[in-house]
Amino acid sequence: MAALNGVSTVIQLDQVNKWYGQFHVLTDINLQVKQGEKIVICGPSGSGKSTLIRCINRLEEHQAGSIVVSVDGKPIELSNDVKNVEAIRKEVGMVFQSFNLFPHLTILDNLTLAPIWVKKMPKKEAEDIAMSLLKRVRIPEQALKYPGQLSGGQQQRVAIARALCMRPQIMLFDEPTSALDPEMVKEVLDVMVELAKEGMTMLVVTHEMGFARSVADRVIFMDRGEIVEEGPPKEFFANPRNERTRTFLSQILHH
């Protein structure tokens, strides 16, 4: 089993490759994430950025290389072993572009489902945690409604609370604001900024460059399945070294 490089490294990707049929989506990805680090991944559509973070909790399977995630300080390598996959998923929360709340359950039941069934937490305790998280994302009054009765921004905040309910060490965000109306983007980003300030380890796929500037420790630019460039946001935005990065930034920043 591959070891983690250094004590505080929580995710380590070594030479990760993935194909969809003949199409090479991820090429030789190497990435190390330290505890508490905030990483923003950006890039044109189809560049493999979503696939990359979905490989970390095995929603997608990588075909070559290794992915190691630290669970309770122990390094666990992603493999076909279901036990390993489930252990990692307990530690890694995920927020999706299209929220993916469970429409047949109330907001509260959406939040308490995983703690009760996966962590075998008593119902009362799970509900207390859920309510405190709903307060944190500022919608405790919606607890007994169904997802369909909430606005997009509210739904995404519920989705964040739902992921946090499992008390994960790492949070993955897959374009969390892309499906939202413009006026709702801010309420979701505010919650994410707060979360970042509390020291959560975050991997965020997003086009919100303002968020990247103010929160990220590192910005990663991906194109055609490769990590083309990475660096602290200041450097990344001021002097992008690679031509492809410059083109991408000019396209999304000046229009």
């Binding site: 909790n57 095995r58 929603l59 279901v82 489930e86 998923r89 307990k90 890694v92 929360g93 995920m94 999706f96 299209s98 993916n100 709340l101 469970f102 429409p103 047949h104 109330t106 489902l113 995983a114 069934w117 996966v118 009054e141 919606q142 409604k145 169904y146 997802p147 369909g148 009765q149 909430l150 606005s151 509210q154 739902r162 992921a163 499992m166």
Partner: protein, 431 residues
Amino acid sequence: MSQATEAGPATTRPAMLPPTVDGGPLAWLRKNLFSSWGNAITTVLLVACVVWLGSFLINWAVLKATFSAESGKECVGTGGACWAIINAKLRYIFFGSFPYDQHWRPLFAILAMLTMLVLSCDRRMWNAGRLAIIWGIGSVITFMLMFGQIHIPVTLISAIIFLASLAAALLRRTVADNTERTVYTAATVLSGIYLILRVLGILPSYSVPIVLFSYVETGSWGGLAVTMILATYGLAFAFPYGILLALGRRSNLPLIRGLCIGFIELIRGVPLISLLIMASVMLPLFLPSGTNIDKFLRAQVAVILFAGAYIAEIVRGGLQALPKGQFEAADAMGLNYVQRTTLIVLPQALRVVIPPLINTFIGFFKDTSLVLIIGIFDFLKTASQALVDPLWTGFPGEIYLFAAAVYFCFCFSMSRYSKYLERELNKGTQR
């Protein structure tokens, strides 16, 4: 949405009311029935037809009808319906050739099944424990009444004890104290020894008899009780079985998927009648001589297998309608396959397919009448058999209308229940 209440009213302008519809039945008539010459003529013609047909029906079914008579001869020439045949044959139609003085037994069995069905229609009863209690008690009452006595083989009892204590010992091995563990071990060992001795043929087969009434074999069952047992237990078993088939068909394991596809296609590809004939005529040829599986049970199994294949395809439709994101969200939260399926996937998939599902249920309720092919006297068969009586020949219209009315009551209730269920389950999820 709560956003609106947070923001408050945007202006102080008074709210505009929708335009009032000018009322009155006359206005309604003019607007809907007499808006043009063509419309008016159609209305008049249709009303005339309905009146003519209605008066004919009332004349035939009520005014000129004979309600009680000694024999069919008294009905001839009246020009009205002969409901007397229903009156005279009612008990035969409902209970078939069940011993005449014991007719109360199938009657109460029917009531027990109805109670069971009505109770399990209530959403509050939808958890495994409550349903098990309702169906357990209901089934024991039903079959106790129908058979009159039940002989439970000790082999079966000890097999159940063996499996249950083994499962309990495994499931509670971490939490059980010493006494509890001893009980499990003792139960497992004792029932295991009995089973081994029984299999080796050292012990004869014992059975525990519960004798309440005289024994009535399935060959004498008939009428509504037979139809209801076939439909109720047919669908009660076919439903979970069909769900498993549907899940199997979408499985990643090629062997399971192949088996499920093969089974579904094979069963759907043959008519129910051929399956029934196979079960009643061909199956005994393959079984070793001396083994005798009840004909009724064989028909019941054929119905279950057939309905299961159809239900599987409907459920698969529901599974496919579910967005991929739901599976992914469940996976990302760390739910395992069973949790994901029972908590997230099935509750959503099944509510999408309520209309086609109830449609199939209604179809199968009526399809159970095909068992008359292999000589089982279901409700439709006993009804038509009533016509064979030489005293009452020549009134098929009345008999079949009556049978149709009874079938309609059941099917229409199912249809209404489906509507109620759709509304009930979509309550919170609609905006």
